[in-house]
Subunit: 557 residues, 2 copies
């Protein structure tokens, strides 16, 4: 039963079971039952294989125009143990919304349960309905959509003369920051949350979380349910302020991640470790995901705003199924997201010249671009070095070891002149170089992998900044436009002042976020470099020790 | 003026200026004036380029049938400063023998002086006159020819019933050992030389040189003569027993080498370091040749027979031009070469069962074959490792260094958050890895080159053994044949006993040589492995030190 689809994003295959697809490429889905978050299909070049479900949209002609973005209001249970999952697994199509929402993201789990119905492309009057993938896509950096859709935007201020962006896909518009700056977001009667920005020695910064904590992630364990139909990995997550472990799956992280994206405008939300179609239960992959979840968690707990988010607290503390569902629904119904989140910010009274802010941001932009490039460069070099360690380096040393062994074997062949001591020493030297080859092959586990983990975190954080910077640029443009209009008498000064004031909030928030990024960067890169050098030293010392022990065998000859 | 020629040996081109030629291939010499020991010519595949002069014979029709093997009786002066060399350099053809002999080997020297007339192929009644190249050819392992040619062989014992080999090119025949075993070599009235074989704990061995010495080779210096027309490298050679330096060129070594080949049947004469067409004056090549001449010399002085050779003594001590010529001529007129050399051997009285000797030799043959293979294997691995050190390893570390530098450059771009200390440390780490890349690139100079030098010496020594072993096999076959004939009454027992006795001499000599080979092998390989490990340890320690210094920069941050 093949179905047509179109690629939303470019995806590069990383395993032989996968195929690459290009943005806008027409695809044929050969099996609509997604295999664990992946479709089996064919691309326009006739290659067959797997690609991620969330990277494509199925093209249908059925007239269901009110498909809801699942990243905004999915509902579901913690355990996925609703009666729907015990029903026939292979039923395709005809599954109601509740079915889908209950299995709110099975990307990561070895599910054979039907999972259909998301990303149905619905041609309408305005072209395509906007879709956000349910899972993070490391290649495409979208910002969370605001709840203020076209309807709420065309609200109270319809008469305002300050133009709105026509590009509904600009992050400035989507994030709701445009609406916020223009004053379209009404002040709420009571705001429970509040995040403060202070002036630090290097400029605005987020006020520290008054109750800082850290959180460990340990002991990834394979679990099964539905009599073995579903297999998944569960991690023990222990926040320091409670000391009580909770158990979470990748999909819980993913749910939280999507909440964060949705809520936190102007904050660079760390990307989750990437997905992988095959080998998900292999030890190396599980280890790698654990290491990267730990880094993700460290960034979360380090962040004064993210660490105080109620949904995060719920994720870290809730150990009860029923409570989990309630808290989950509460988080999904949170109104202080996107544009409204901007209302929760308390900014300092200090005057900042908007021109200065613009310049600060431009500097940061230049820096972030260069850092992104160099992080990519180092990632490429380190990845290649891993490949060399596992391949070339190991091979060379093993070949040398074999050659020495071969020499010592030759020396055994003329018995009266065997000189066993020398032969043993040469043979041992051969084994030593074989071991050194193995040391080379194992070394990336101790240094390069950790470096790549951290670089991957930073690639994600840096990839968020262009959109965040765009918010500030958009706000700044609105200030200039409103000032001009006020000067020309087309807008009253009060309204223009309001726009300028709200633009200040955006600027302070961005600067606080830049400052947090720099602070973490210093700590993280210092740690990364020190750890790398320490492991490198230990590695070469191990090589020296092996060689010294071997050399000693010749001394007694 | 092109001339036809035929390839005597296969030569594989190693540099782009050279072309490969195959044994028996017809060639066209485009320029008969050899360029520094090389001809410019065209092979049968139409490729044009250089190939070694001594690998080919020019085909001429002139009726000069008494060309003498230049390796046996060339005459010449030490300095090549005879009046012939000051004559017009570009005269081709028509150069008399004396001309040639005076420039007895210019293979190695940057000579633009005419050097023609050797290896003239002279078709006669018996086909081609046998030629020995004046220079050693590492690809073809010929044994020195005996002075006992077909004429002396068809001498006194013409009536003997023991068959002679028909293959005139078998080393058994060419070396004169067949003639010796059959008793065709008449005892000389007085033999000045004598080399003794004793019974050692592991079997027969050469009696040590009663006056052992060593000899240094130092200070390769570029010299010119004929107003810069000739350029060559001169080495300072200082034997320990005189302490007086003499200065020698490669061609003097080559002259000595050919004397050794000619004289010493059953001894594995070490090959000289290989020739090279291009880059002969480059520092690396000169260094390499010096190192390999030193190893060659060490083997020479270690050898109880070779080290006592009068021609060697002459080479090591003579510092006077006139004396040099006299000694050179004396060496070239030495009668105790080839078959006659066998007469100089004093063997122990101990009885050795010929069957046991045969078995010993077979063991050695198996060993030598396997050692040859494993030396080749290690040579290939080590050569590839050199390539990796200079290329891949260096490149990887330099790329890592560059990537770190790039990170630190990015970190400089946002001034308020520059954190100079960290940036300096990261930048320094970048430089450290660039240095480590250079350490990798330089390391072969300290270890792998030396290993390759020694392996090359052993490749040469091992390549001699098949022919030497063949001598003993041939002698043994003669014993069996003569014993059978004696049993059948076709030969008197006295004659058969004589053959058996002379076969014992061959067997003792071969065992003494095997023993010497093993003795040196143990010393040389122990030294080689120890030196390699020591340099490897020092190398990795240098890496550790660089990394430790770099790590310390992060401690103070």
């Amino acid at each position: 039963m093949s179905v047509k689809a179109v690629a939303l994003y470019t995806f590069l295959s990383e395993n032989k079971e996968e195929i690459s697809i290009q943005e806008n490429e027409e695809l044929t889905i050969l099996d609509e039952n997604s295999l664990d978050g992946w479709y089996l299909g064919e691309n326009s070049r006739g290659e067959r294989g797997l690609f991620p479900k969330t990277y494509v949209e199925i093209v249908r002609t059925r007239s269901n125009s009110n498909v809801t973005d699942c990243s905004i209001s999915p509902e579901g249970s913690l355990g996925n143990d609703s009666p729907y999952f015990s029903s026939t697994p292979n039923t395709s199509g005809q599954i109601n919304d509740e079915d889908y929402y209950d299995d709110w993201d099975d990307w990561d789990d070895g599910s054979t349960v039907v999972d259909d119905g998301d990303h149905i492309r619905t041609p309408g009057a305005n072209g395509y309905a906007h879709q956000t993938p349910t899972s993070n896509n490391p290649n495409v950096h979208y910002r969370a959509k605001s709840v203020s859709g076209p309807d709420s935007m065309s609200g109270s201020r319809k008469g305002s003369m300050v133009g709105r962006n026509l590009n509904r896909f600009s992050s400035f518009v989507r994030s709701g920051v445009e609406a916020f700056v223009l004053g379209d977001v009404p002040m709420m009667a009571k705001i429970a949350e509040s995040y403060t920005i202070e002036m630090g020695p290097l400029g605005p910064k987020w006020k520290e979380n008054p109750n800082p904590f850290i959180c460990s992630i340990e002991d990834p364990t394979k679990q099964t349910k539905f009599k073995g139909i579903k297999t998944y990995i569960s991690y023990r997550v222990t926040p320091s302020h409670t000391g009580r472990p909770v158990y979470r799956r990748y999909k819980h992280f993913d749910w939280l991640y999507n909440r964060l994206l949705n809520k936190f405008t102007v904050i660079s939300v760390p990307h989750l470790p990437e997905k992988q179609a095959t080998g998900r239960f292999e030890e190396d992959f599980i280890e790698k995901r654990k290491r990267r979840l730990i880094l993700w968690m460290n960034h979360m707990t380090s962040h004064p705003v993210l660490s105080q988010y109620e949904g995060f607290e719920h994720f870290l503390m809730c150990a009860d199924d029923k409570q989990w569902k309630l808290g989950k629904r509460r988080a999904e119904k949170d109104e202080m997201v996107g544009a409204h989140f901007m209302l929760t910010l308390q900014i300092p009274n200090e005057h900042q010249d908007l021109q200065d802010v613009e310049e600060r941001v431009d500097n940061f932009k230049t820096f972030a671009k260069k850092m992104d490039d160099s992080v990519m460069q180092l990632t490429n070099v380190a990845s290649e070095l891993v490949r060399k360690h596992l391949g070339g380096f190991r091979k060379e040393f093993q070949r040398l070891g074999n050659a020495f062994q071969s020499i010592s074997q030759a020396f055994m062949l003329d018995p009266p002149h065997r000189s066993d001591g020398l032969n043993n020493a040469i043979s041992h030297t051969g084994r030593t170089y074989e071991n050194i080859g193995e040391l080379f092959a194992e070394q990336p586990k101790y240094d390069l992998f950790q470096m790549l983990d951290k670089l991957s975190l930073y690639q994600g954080l840096l990839a968020n900044f262009p959109d965040i910077i765009h918010l500030q640029k958009g706000a700044f443009a609105k200030v200039k436009e409103s000032q001009r209009m006020s000067d020309e008498g087309k807008m009253d000064q009060g309204e223009a002042d309001g726009i300028r004031k709200r633009c200040r909030t955006v600027g302070f928030a961005l600067q606080a976020e830049m400052s947090h990024f720099h602070e973490r960067r210093e700590v993280d890169f210092k740690d990364m470099m020190q750890a790398y050098l320490k492991e490198q030293i230990a590695f070469y010392q191990r090589v020296v020790q092996q060689l010294e022990r071997t050399l000693r065998m010749y001394d007694s000859l």
